[in-house]
Point group: C6
Chain length 71, copies 6
């Protein structure tokens, strides 16, 4: 069984746009943490974020509460 | 495998009505956060909410506790 | 793939009875919130509760900890 | 698709034994609540507990952290 | 549909070894509780732990954060 | 049914690289705990981490919020 990103869904497509446009985002997590950075890639389980020092963080989708573009 | 919205279910249909009528709603999240806004779209994983300044927030369904129309 | 309520299960049947009898219930949620009201409908993802002012709240099943009839 | 209790599993069988023997148990829940009572039935989604006043509580399995027989 | 333990996976095999060797372990749970004891059995949903007074606790896997052998 | 690691996914491949390079990582967990160590193996349910004293901890993926390489 292979799990693939469902690229037809609005949530997946919007994240692809955020990656392409190198948009700063905020991710609110179930622990209450708020991470900021640019999304580098997404797969069915995780989203990778890099902060202003270009340090990567792999965030599990199961822990995401919401995502918003930074103004 | 494609995941689709099950448009026959009451919960999915009621959210479609809230989108069409541009009804203000409150979303209570697992972190205890309470977001307010109008729902723009839903897909099987997420619901997108825009606040009074028209800023979008993509909320993961897994993090939703309850939703109520605002009076 | 269609998800349906499994009407043969005790938990689903008891909620159907609570709906039919318009029984007041308490729902404890993962955030610690305790909601009170009457259940109007259930589907595989949500339960809808109306409070004493007849305001509806759509509660996600994933966020329910327990349900008890009010005395 | 029908979901059935897998009666061959140790966890399901031990709960059946606790029901039959009307053993008092403690259930620790994800909210930190600790419920005490006797288990009346189990299905794939829920466990029903009755307290000392014979009041029922339907507990969602997803919210159970641990179960122990009371001494 | 029958759910079976996937005995080829490292996590399942290591728990089998901990059972056979009657190794003391610590289990950290989502509530923040830390349980200590010996694992008696595992199935796809639960792990059973007995404490120093030989009292059993059935722990749901969904509530486990980490497990470590006690030194 | 056998569950296998989907080795084509970026998140799985990056963890394989972290294992091979014996890179120190930080794991943030749903309880708020932050564990540090080197990843020894991953399977579809768990990730094993060893700390500086070479003590192993089996972490359930369901409890992982994010992972970052230590600087």
């Amino acid at each position: 069984m292979t799990v693939e990103l469902e690229t037809g869904l609005p949530s997946v497509r919007q994240i692809q746009t955020l990656i392409r446009e190198e948009q700063e985002v905020e991710l609110k997590l179930t622990t209450g943490d708020l991470l900021a950075g640019k999304i580098r890639w997404q797969d069915p389980y995780c989203i990778s974020l890099t902060d202003q020092y270009d340090q990567p963080t792999i965030v599990w989708r199961q822990a995401i509460v919401y995502l918003k573009p930074r103004l």
